[in-house]
């Protein structure tokens, strides 16, 4: 096994992210200063993001049997980095008032980001598992970071136990697949999955899928989501909802759709995937209906969104599937960053809890008009209303499904039902921003929130939602990068 320079160049985003972790560690060791440590993190992640441009020049590229770098992986590693950057800037605004050590959370963020990038590069079960664990373990720490709050600790333990169980199930599934096929590479496993797969493959494959579904919080494996979202500090919630999900979804799509095409032809898997997508749409939207907690509501809404997304990938086919997936996921990430960003800006790490109750936001529009407008915009975008980017995403889903025949139409019924229900709770949240407040507000964003790093990020996200909602062409163009695929021999 020889490394060429091109190999390393292709791996640049991952290498730089890992290096950033070390630099941040050293930076903390040299001087414990919040601003300076955060700056090192942000610079490192930015360089990693920029290096994607150089990596783009040498793709497609296989690096060891574990990694593959092509348009698809670079697009999603870029998206993970953007999400991580967003979460970092939010953390910076949020953690400032934290009484204990503030700096280590950046370490955890960079480690989790590196794990995410490994996932998006991997086309081998070993790298999949390493990436997943690297990300999850760092996430446990992040969720528990404000451990003075009982909720934060509770969420972390819940996440730890359930996630470890899911990982174990997944590992067992991988072992079963290996027992049948004798290889861990995606492409060879893909070749082994035929239209009528053997029982071992079906069971193993299902167990593998269960593990991934769990991480994506697709129903019926979603039970941890609302609790963890509620308990985690708001910026960590943002990371969890964006970067972590993108990474897992990217690897799922690479495994199930790009490299083993026949997964889509083998009946048990297709039915499972479609059913999970449909249940997720319904469960997510129905359970969000009566939520008074914004973070829980966003958690449920993410379940529904991943349901739409799964449907889109399944029925999209060559023309729209992968491109639509990239567009939808990007829009979802930016929108979630904006929504969680507002929650973060309203909250402080030293408070007893985050500003996550609906009542905390009553009348926000009349106190902080722009912040409330951004929140409104992002909620409309999540609901998929025109003029916001979310509509473009929904448009892709519907377009893909209409052209997809029977399964597409079944899915569409759920899409229509789900989004009709969804509108109710998005509206409910939105209108409370505008209603006159009944009591003193306990939470408020700082008056100069717009000039702080987190605020600028949120403003940028809002601008993205609006601009892409009106002129989606640039995003579609970039998303077509994902078509530059490495082809399995």
């Amino acid at each position: 096994m020889t490394f060429t320079l091109e190999n390393l160049q292709a791996l640049l985003p991952l290498l730089i992210t890992c290096a950033t972790t070390i630099f941040v560690m050293l930076a903390i060791a040299i001087k414990r200063n919040h601003w300076w440590n955060a700056t090192v993190t942000v610079i490192g992640l930015n360089i990693a993001l920029l290096s994607s441009y150089y990596a783009l020049k040498v793709i497609p590229q296989t690096v060891t049997p574990l990694f593959v770098v092509d348009g698809f992986s670079l697009f999603f590693s870029g998206l993970i980095l953007i999400a991580a950057l967003g979460a970092t800037t939010l953390t910076n605004a949020y953690i400032e008032s934290f009484k204990r050590n503030r700096e280590e959370i950046y370490l955890l963020i960079t480690i989790a980001t590196a794990g995410g990038i490994v996932l998006s590069f991997s086309h081998h079960m070993a790298s999949l598992f390493i990436g997943l664990e690297m990300m999850s373990v760092a996430l446990y720490g992040m969720v528990a970071y404000t451990y003075d709050r009982a909720r934060s600790l509770e969420a972390a333990i819940k996440y730890l136990v359930l996630s470890a169980t899911a990982s174990a199930i997944m590992l067992f599934g991988i072992a079963l697949i290996y027992a049948q096929i004798g290889s861990l590479a995606f492409s060879e496993i893909g070749a082994g999955i035929t239209q009528e797969p053997s029982l071992l493959i079906v069971v193993g494959g299902m167990m593998l899928l269960i593990g991934l579904f769990f991480k994506l919080s697709l129903a019926p494996f979603h039970l941890w989501t609302p609790d963890v979202y509620e308990g985690a500090p708001a910026p960590v919630g943002a990371f969890l909802a964006t970067a972590a999900k993108v990474a897992v979804f990217a690897v799922l799509v690479r495994f199930a759709i790009l490299e083993s095409n026949s997964v889509l032809a083998s009946t048990p898997f297709v039915i499972t995937l479609i059913v999970v997508a449909c249940i997720s749409m319904m469960v997510g939207n129905l359970l969000a209906l009566k939520q008074n907690n914004i973070k829980r509501m966003l958690g449920y809404s993410s379940i529904a969104h991943f349901g739409y997304l799964l449907l889109l990938v399944l029925v999209g086919g060559q023309k729209f599937g992968i491109e639509g997936f990239a567009v939808y996921l990007t829009i979802y990430v930016i929108t979630s960053l904006a929504a969680f960003g507002v929650v973060t800006l309203m909250s402080q790490a030293d408070g007893k809890r985050d500003a996550d109750m609906l009542s905390d936001y009553r009348g926000l529009f009349w106190r902080r008009p722009y912040l409330a407008s951004i929140f409104t915009l992002s909620l409309f975008s999540l609901a998929g209303i025109p003029l916001t980017a979310g509509f473009i995403g929904k448009f892709y889903v519907v377009t893909a499904a209409v052209g997809a025949g029977f399964w597409g139409w079944i899915g569409l019924i759920f899409v229509v039902l789900g989004s009709s229900i969804g509108i109710f709770f998005y509206l409910r949240t939105i209108i409370s921003l505008f209603l006159a407040k009944k009591h003193m507000h306990r939470f408020d964003a700082e008056i100069n929130w717009g000039q702080r790093t987190g605020g600028i990020m949120v403003l940028g996200a809002a601008a993205f939602i609006l601009v892409i909602g009106i002129i989606p062409n640039p995003l579609m163009f970039i998303a077509q990068l994902t078509q530059l695929l490495w082809v399995a021999q």
């Binding site: 529009f365 009349w366 409309f380 209303i385 025109p386 003029l387 509509f391 448009f395 519907v398 377009t399 209409v402 052209g403 569409l412 899409v415 229509v416 989004s419 009709s420 509108i423 109710f424 509206l427 409910r428 209108i431 505008f434 209603l435 002129i471 989606p472 062409n473 579609m476």
Partner: protein, 507 residues
């Protein structure tokens, strides 16, 4: 030029939102100015072109003015606006009622004036977009966009209903009804685009291209139903109407004016412009059903209106009744009836707006919309009672006023196509007299609740009312200019049906 028709309200809305920091007067004046500007622009467009000359054969569209730039080439979507006789009339109505909506909330709305006008103007901008869009994606874009400001208008500045139901509930109901039907519309649009794509390998959302799509009868029916149901909810056709009374009774006056005057018309416009030309055969098939739904709406609306205590709910139900006439007119595919539809839409827009403004004025004075608490108002105030009487008369279809012309033309046209439908629809005129008179009776006549005199009409209100009265009388006495404007378009739609049908409908 066409782009400006959409941009003026949007920019005006943003300006008046920001102008609130200069006091509550500034947003009103900016909104009023931009509405007058919009009205002047549409009036200019109306006078500039001769719409009657566009002599079309079936299935063709000739635009008086057109504007097209690429928007999302990936999906063959373009920013395509076009103007013809039907759109200009609808735009005139939009702009005119827009001016009125601003004026009638001059004193009614006191809280958050800037944001109110932002929403009000954005509704109008989006509606102008709906009337101009000739790209299905763009149309859907505006179609959905007008819901959001309307939602805010009802939920933030609305009133509590007489029976205590909250305004937020009403607004949410409105939004969910129209939004889910909008999703159906989106599905049908994309379905149509895909059928076209399969045939020609060209992905396009353009109106003119999609009109040439060939499809099997069953597919045509399914897609047509998608369009039909979406428009029927907005219309509202009777089984889908339950959002309307709630939304109306809780909305502020300006919201009701926009809702009854303009938003309902977008549905009728959508049927005329899209549902029928895209799917002439399926429309032909569904026509008897649609006409009977129209009849059901006429009779049901009238009966329910009669028993309402809330004056705005009552007017809302009369709207359902009047829109029933529009529905049977559209689906009779008869040239005369379709011309009647245009007049009826304009006249109903004006008369419903007049009634809603009156009830808004009564509410400002009495602080109630409950008819039980009115009575004897003729003796307590000057100015408003005779005007209320006038609009009630218009609503019952008094000859000489616009509504009469509309309903008469529709009935004459429908009579030739289906006599039984016409017969039942005519009962709407009788029932219309009943509910209009009961409205007058309960509010204006009878024993007064107190002897305390109420403020009479002021100059602002009088100007508004007189302008409405003038238009209604003009439509009633000399509707020819309107008929000339829409004749070409209606003719081409009518021909589309006659050319596609094997047996002539008029037997």
């Amino acid at each position: 030029m066409l782009t400006w028709l959409i941009l003026i309200p949007f920019i005006g809305g943003l300006l008046s939102w920001q102008a609130e920091r200069f006091g509550s007067k500034a947003p009103r004046w900016i909104a009023l100015f931009s509405m007058i500007l919009l009205f002047a622009c549409t009036l200019n467009l109306w006078l500039k072109y001769d719409y009657s000359l566009a002599n079309l054969s079936a299935g063709q569209s000739v635009w008086a003015e057109e504007f097209q730039v690429n928007w999302i080439p990936r999906f063959g979507i373009s920013f395509h606006l076009a103007l013809d006789g039907l759109s200009i009339l609808m735009l005139l109505l939009t702009a005119f009622l827009g001016v009125l909506a601003v004026v009638c909330s001059w004193t009614e709305v006191k809280r958050k004036v800037g944001f109110f006008h932002l929403n009000l103007l954005w509704i109008l901008g989006a509606v102008a977009g709906v009337f101009l869009a000739m790209d299905m994606f763009l149309f859907f874009f505006f179609w959905e966009m007008m819901l959001i400001p309307m939602y805010f208008l009802i939920s933030l500045w609305g009133h509590k209903a007489v029976d205590g139901k909250g305004r937020v509930e009403a607004a949410t109901k409105f939004f969910i009804y129209t939004q889910s039907s909008g999703l159906l519309l989106l599905l049908a649009i994309i379905g149509l685009v895909f059928v076209h794509y399969m045939q020609t390998d060209v992905l396009t959302f353009d109106y003119a291209d999609l009109r040439n799509t060939q499809m099997s009868a069953s597919l045509e029916m399914i897609l047509m139903l998608g369009f039909f149901i979406a428009f029927a909810v907005k219309f509202p056709v009777v089984p889908f109407h339950s959002w309307l009374p709630d939304a109306h009774s809780q909305a502020p006056t300006a919201g009701s004016v926009d809702l009854a005057g303009i938003l309902l018309k977008t549905a009728a416009y959508g049927m005329l412009r899209f549902a029928i030309p895209f799917f002439p055969n399926a429309s032909q098939e569904i026509a008897p059903l649609a006409m009977w739904l129209g009849v059901a709406g006429i009779i049901y609306g009238a009966f329910v209106a009669y028993s309402q205590d809330d004056i705005k709910r009552m007017i809302a139900y009369t709207s359902i009744s009047h829109m029933g006439f529009v529905l049977i007119g559209i689906y009779s595919f008869n040239q005369i009836a379709m011309q009647g539809v245009v007049v009826q839409m304009l006249a109903h827009g004006i008369s419903a707006a007049g009634l809603f403004i009156i009830s808004g004025q009564l509410y400002e004075r009495l602080k109630t919309r409950d008819l039980n608490k009115m009575g004897g108002l003729s003796s307590r105030m000057s100015g408003i009672p005779p005007i209320a009487m006038f609009f009630a008369a218009a609503s019952l279809g008094l000859p000489g006023l616009g509504n009469f012309v509309g309903e008469f033309l529709i009935l004459v046209g429908v009579f030739k196509v289906d006599m039984v439908v016409a017969l039942f629809a005519t009962s709407g005129l009788v029932l219309g007299a009943v509910y209009s008179l009961i409205l007058v009776q309960r509010s204006l006549h009878g024993p007064a609740q107190s002897n305390e005199p109420l403020a009479g009409i002021n100059a602002r209100e009088l100007t508004m009312m007189l302008s409405l009265i003038f238009i209604l009388v003009w439509l009633g006495l000399y509707p020819q200019p309107v008929l000339d404007t829409s004749a070409a378009v209606m003719n081409s739609i009518g021909q589309l049906i006659t050319s596609s049908q094997s047996i002539p409908a008029a037997q």
